[in-house]
Symmetry: C2
C-alpha cells in the first residue's frame, strides 16, 4: 500500500461544470460513473474525417492547434462524455528526439531513423520541449475552448504520452511489430543499451507531461501499450521501473489543483498489484481482467479505469447495454476510497457505428446512477 485514501477536504479540484472524472480518479464520491473512450476523437466520426481531410494528414491535424482543438471537442458535442483527451499521438517525443515520425496511409507509424546500435543510443537525449510546442499550444487552445466566460470548464482535459518502454519498442523496431524481435533482441543482448534508452525516455516523458500540465492538462495518462509483451521479470525491469521513474517526477498539483496520474499497461493484468504500487492514482485495465477481482486486489490503493472490449460496439443496442451493465456491476457500487472510470480496454475501432457510442455512454450514466440509488 503506497497511498492513503485522500480526504475530500484536502483535495482541491479546478472549476468544472462536470468534475466527475477527476473525482473518480481521486476516489472521491461521485453521482455517477464517469466515462470517456480511448481515441474518442477518431476516424469513426464523420466530422473527424472531414477535419482531417482539410488538414491533409494525421500529423497535419496533430500539429495544428485549431484543428487539434476542433477534433478534441467533436465527441463532446455528440456524447455526454465526462472527459476530453488531447488529440495527439503517443510517439511525439521520439519524433522530437529527431527520429523522423511519419504515417503512411493505411499503415502504422514509421520512424525514418530507428535506434538499433550503440552509436544511435549514444546520440539520444531529452528533447528540447520547444520542438513539442505544437502540443502545448493545442492543450492551451483546447482548455480555452472548453471554458465559459467565467473560466468554468465543461469537462477536464487529459494529457498523455507513451510509456518509456512503449516508445522504445517503436524507436528500435522503427514502427509497429508483431513479434518485437528487434527490441527484445537488444533487451536480452545489450540490456545496458536498453536501460540507457529507457532512462532518456523516462526523463523526456516526465518533462513532456509536466509541460502539458503547465499548459493546462488537468490529468495525465501514460500509455504502456506494449508492456504486456514482456516476460514476467522483464516487465518489472524494463517497463514498470521506468514508468515509476516518470511518475516520481510528475507534478501532483498545478495552481493548487490536484492532477491525477493514470497508467495503462495493455495486457498487464497479471501485474496489477505491482502497477497499483507504482505511485499512479488510476490503473487502466483491459477486458481480460475481472473488475471485481481487480477491485478486491487493489483495495483503496488506486482507482480503476476500464474495461469493455471495443468490439462490443459492433453489437445491437440491447447487447451493448447488457455488456455495459455487466461491466458496471462487476466493479460494483463505488464506496468510500474506491473509484471507477468507465472506458474501453483499447482505442475505439474506426469501424464503430457512431450511434452505438451513445448507447454506451447513456447506459453508463443511467445504470451507474441506479447502482448508487
Amino acid at each position: 500500500m503506497t497511498a492513503a485514501s485522500p480526504s475530500p477536504s484536502h483535495v482541491a479540484l479546478p472549476p468544472l461544470a462536470n468534475d466527475t472524472f477527476l473525482r473518480a480518479c481521486l476516489r472521491l464520491p461521485t453521482t455517477h460513473t464517469p466515462v470517456w473512450l480511448m481515441r474518442q476523437a477518431g476516424r469513426y466520426l464523420p466530422e473527424y474525417r472531414a477535419t482531417r481531410d482539410k488538414a491533409g494528414s494525421f500529423m497535419g491535424l496533430a500539429t495544428n492547434k485549431e484543428a487539434a482543438c476542433e477534433v478534441t471537442l467533436q465527441p463532446l458535442d455528440r456524447y455526454a462524455l465526462d472527459a476530453s483527451i488531447l488529440f495527439s499521438d503517443i510517439l511525439t517525443v521520439p519524433d522530437a528526439m529527431g527520429l523522423g515520425l511519419s504515417f503512411a496511409a493505411g499503415e502504422g507509424p514509421k520512424f525514418a531513423s530507428p535506434v538499433r546500435d550503440e552509436a544511435a543510443v549514444a546520440k539520444l537525449a531529452v528533447p528540447d520541449m520547444a520542438k513539442l510546442q505544437y502540443v502545448f499550444d493545442a492543450v492551451g487552445t483546447i482548455r480555452k475552448a472548453l471554458s465559459d466566460a467565467n473560466g468554468m470548464g465543461r469537462v477536464p482535459l487529459i494529457g498523455f504520452s507513451g510509456s518509456p518502454w512503449t516508445l522504445a519498442c517503436y524507436m528500435v523496431e522503427g514502427g509497429g511489430s508483431d513479434d518485437y524481435r528487434l527490441v527484445k533482441s537488444m533487451m536480452y543482448s545489450r540490456p545496458d543499451l536498453m536501460h540507457r534508452i529507457l532512462a532518456v525516455n523516462a526523463d523526456s516523458v516526465a518533462l513532456y507531461l509536466n509541460t502539458q500540465i503547465e499548459a493546462g492538462a488537468q490529468a495525465v495518462m501514460v500509455f504502456d501499450s506494449w508492456g504486456g509483451v514482456l516476460a514476467d521479470g522483464a516487465f518489472q525491469e524494463f517497463s514498470l521501473a521506468y514508468t515509476k521513474r516518470v511518475l516520481s517526477q510528475l507534478k501532483r498539483e498545478h495552481n493548487g489543483y490536484r492532477i491525477p496520474h493514470i497508467v495503462f499497461t495493455k495486457g498487464g493484468g497479471l501485474w496489477l498489484s505491482e502497477i497499483a504500487d507504482s505511485g499512479a492514482d488510476v490503473v487502466g485495465l483491459d477486458w481480460t481482467v475481472n473488475l471485481s477481482k481487480a477491485r478486491a486486489q487493489v483495495g483503496d490503493r488506486v482507482a480503476l479505469q476500464g474495461n469493455l472490449d471495443p468490439n462490443v460496439l459492433f453489437a445491437p443496442p440491447e447487447a451493448i447495454r447488457a455488456e455495459v451493465i455487466k461491466t458496471l456491476d462487476s466493479f460494483g457500487v463505488p464506496t468510500e476510497g474506491s473509484g471507477h472510470v468507465f472506458n474501453l480496454g483499447h482505442g475505439i475501432s474506426q469501424f464503430t457505428p457512431p450511434e452505438n457510442v451513445s448507447v454506451l455512454v447513456d447506459t453508463v450514466h443511467e445504470h451507474s446512477r441506479k447502482l448508487r440509488a
Copy 2:
C-alpha cells in the same frame, strides 16, 4: 481440484528410450526436465527449408507423409529434444470442413469460404475423417521412423489441433486478424451462431485428436492460440467451455497406455486456475506468467509447460543460459505430484540462429539435473 495425483504404479507408459516428457506430463518423477519447442520443425532450420522447397509449399509438406515425417525428425537429429511433434497445421480441421485453406507466400493462412452468416454456419458439420487421412498417415509414418527394430521409440510423438475458439477465429475472419472484429461482432451480436460453430468445432477436434491417438500420437495438445483476446467471462463461455467439451471426449488411454492432454491458452495467465480445472493433464503458459506463482496456484492439479520468450534465442549464449536457468529456478525442483515441461511461450521464430537452440536444450538438461541433485 479435479484430479488426484496419479500413482506411478497405475500409469502404464509406452516403450520409449526416453519417456521423460510423458512422465513430466503425468507428474511422475524424472531425472531431468524434458524440453521440446513449439514449431521445432520449422523455417529456422536450413534442412527444413530444403525439404519444404522440394515439397513445393507448406501444405505440400503437411500432406505428404514422408516429407512430414522427414521434417518432424530433423530437430531430433540436431538437438537432444525429449519429444517430437507431428508436422502439421492447426487449421486442418476447418479445411476438411470445406473452407478451403491456403497459404500465400509471406502471408498467413487464408480460407476461401469464411463462415460469416447463418447459412454458412448451418452448413458446418463434423468433417469426414477420411479427408484428414494424410494427417493420420503422417502420424503412423513418424511413429515407425521413431521406433527401433524392437518397437522401442526414441521419444514420444505429440499430436495436436487448434482449439474450437481459435479455429472459429480463423473461420470467421477468413485468416489472421489484429482486432478480431468479425468474429467478436458475431459473438456479441449472434451468440447463438457462435455457439453452433463452437459445438461443431469441439466435436470435430475431439474426433480428430482421438483419430490421431489411434494412429499413434502418444500425447495431444490443444492450441488455444487466440483465447487470450477474449474478455473475462467471454473466455469462459466461448473458449474454455468448448476446450472442456473436447477434453471430456478425448481418449485417456490407448492400447493400455496413458495419453496426456495438454492445453495452451496464449495470454490466458489470468485464467490459469480455471484452465487447470478443465480436465487437462498439462497447462501451457506464456512468458508473462510467473512460473513460481503458477505452480503455487495449480498445486498438484496439473503439470505446467513453458515458458521462455522465444526472443531470448536472439541473445548470446551466456544470456540464453542465464534466462533458461532463471526459468527452471522459477519453477523450482519438481517434487512428488508436480511436473514441468520446458518449452517456449510461443513458436520459435524463423529467424532463430539454430546453434542457439543447442544452448537452450543443453542448459535445460544440465541445470535441471543439478537442481535435482
